[in-house]
Amino acid sequence: MAKRVEASNVTAYYGGFKAIENINLTVEPKTVTALIGPSGCGKSTFLRSINRMHEVLPGARVEGNLTIDDQDIYDRDVDVTAVRRMIGMVFQRPNPFPTMSIFENVVAGLKLNGVRRKSILEEAAEKALRSANLWDEVKDRLGKPGAGLSGGQQQRLCIARTIAVEPQVVLMDEPCSALDPISTLAIEDLMFQLKDKFTIIIVTHNMQQAARVSDRTAFFSIEKTGDPGRLIEYDNTQKIFSNPSVKKTEDYITGRFG
């Protein structure tokens, strides 16, 4: 269920602008990897290249090699929708489908995969909602709109929607930045449970969060505005936060960035 993500020399562009350059990084299965760094350093861009969401924007493209368990996801013959089914994504702002009920939201991905049988959908929905620690809160109102939940619940609903299709890798793009501390804690707990089954890669601005949830941490940075983002250091989280080997990383995590 969980797979290794390997990036070699990944470079991504927005039209003529080079956002990240030569990223080399291997993410082991069933771990949580945090991507940290200042705004505009390309960590979200890198995250979005992993499930080929980067190329959705007009003019955006990716060069280099990205493999999931040795399978090249940028191969010409690979179906992009299959890549995205294998690599789920949770976004910065909770984005449940506003016109759908809680239940419909959770099974949206399964329906896209052609699952129609009600019993299977119900079973999968309960399983996903339980995994997302949301079942007890919503089991009596599955028919109500998903957008009627609180922000934290909505984000857990989005996580349930993502894991309902049983992806190999789950990408999270600042999943807690729009949430209050209690909801954030709930999501962090959830990540801890989820890494039993999934490979998780999370972008976060919150360094305590990175230190709390991740096994490995990658620090991205840019020289100056307009330069492409680069991977500065990638190591065990404990090492990065206690004894980083690059001066720049140390400056950033101790707040002396500038």
């Binding site: 994504m89 506003p98 896209l112 709109p145 957008a147």
Partner: protein, 363 residues
């Protein structure tokens, strides 16, 4: 902009802000607009300075604006009521003079000494031609709108969108002339072909003549309502939150699946509104149908034989030589058209309202 200097003044004197919010309870914009006045008010430059609290004003911009909007709102009601009273007053005598059943009689001779007229055929033709027009226009319009909003390159989309809007600017009499003199020929040929091969289906049956039929009228109508529905639904589709589109794509949706999961449901109330506006135009369209329909009185589902008539087209055709009773009869038919439109609109509202729980949270 008026806020900042006040704040700094307040800082020195203290307490003034309370006074001000009493004086202008209506919100920031009003306060900004009136801010300079207060410095000239009695009590002098020291805004918090010692004097009595300024009295609330009897006549200010706030009051005046309130009155103005109230008057405008009331005027609408008065005008509508006046029109309704006028129409009913004109229609009732004609309806009294009618010697046949207004609902079921198939014909329109209100100018005779024994007036005979019935609304049934006209109402039927109106609803049939409008429904057919929508049946043809809506799928095409939604297709164009989706293409313009989600498939076409941005520049091409804008240019094509502009062209579609231009189509809406063509006067309906031009569509009528074009339909009557040019478009009628291919439609006639097509009708003959339909009649030959599909004549066993009643709607394509008959012995002719063909051409100036409900089909021609509905096709011209379809072209006329196309731009309204297209440009409105395109606007709605463009408003779909990117977050929702990306959510669908990230779940592994193809472009079309993304449109079905995120864009179309989100735009549903907007699509309904757009279709209703199109239907409103189709129901009320006058001159184009007066020119393209065969103008007969009879209820028939046959789409290709010369014939058909609508309430609005009949008013245009018959008003010129109508006498007192004739005009009253036409006005009565106008009231029926108004009622049909009203029912359509209420239905649309009801459809939107039924799902409001979902659409409201979408906004």
């Amino acid at each position: 902009m008026g806020e900042t200097p006040h704040r700094s003044a307040d800082a020195g004197t203290g307490g003034t802000r309370v006074t001000q919010s009493h004086e202008w309870p209506a919100g920031a914009s009003a306060r900004v607009a009136e801010a300079p006045v207060s410095t000239r008010s009695p009590g002098g430059v020291g805004l918090g300075g010692g004097g009595a609290l300024p009295r609330s004003r009897k006549f200010g911009a706030e009051r005046a604006f309130h009155g103005l909007t109230l008057a405008a709102g009331t005027a609408v009601l008065v005008i509508i009521a006046a029109i309704a009273i006028f129409l009913i007053a004109k229609a009732v005598p004609a309806l009294r003079a009618n010697t046949e059943n207004f609902w079921s009689y198939e014909g329109w001779s209100p100018n005779e000494t024994e007036p005979k007229f019935g609304i049934g055929t006209l109402a039927f033709g109106t609803v049939l031609s409008a429904a057919l027009a929508l049946l043809m226009a809506v799928p095409v319009a939604l297709g164009i709108a989706l293409y313009l909003s989600h498939y076409a390159p941005r520049r091409l989309g804008t240019a094509l969108g502009f062209l579609v809007d231009l189509l809406a600017a063509v006067p309906s009499v031009v569509f009528g002339l074009w339909g009557r003199d040019i478009f009628v020929n291919p439609v006639r040929d097509f009708s003959v072909w339909l009649n030959e091969y599909f004549g066993w289906i009643p709607i394509f049956g008959g012995d002719g003549p063909f051409g100036k039929s409900i089909m021609l009228g509905a096709l011209v109508l379809a072209i006329m309502v196309l731009p309204i529905i297209t440009s409105l639904s395109r606007e709605v589709f463009l408003q779909t939150p990117t977050a929702n589109e990306e959510a669908a794509l990230a779940l592994g949706a193809t472009r079309w699946e993304m449109l079905r999961t995120a864009v179309l449901p989100y735009g549903r109330p907007g699509i309904i509104a757009a279709v209703m506006l199109g239907l409103g135009r189709a129901l009320g369209e006058t001159i184009a149908l007066a020119m393209t329909l065969g103008i007969t009185f009879g209820i028939s589902f046959n789409l290709i034989q010369n014939g058909g008539n609508t309430i609005a087209a009949n008013i245009a055709n018959a008003f010129g030589e109508a006498n007192e009773t004739g005009r009253g009869a036409l006005i009565a038919s106008g009231l029926v058209l108004f009622t049909i439109t009203l029912i359509v609109n209420i239905t649309a509202r009801a459809i939107i309202y039924r799902r409001r729980e979902f659409t409201e949270s979408a906004a």
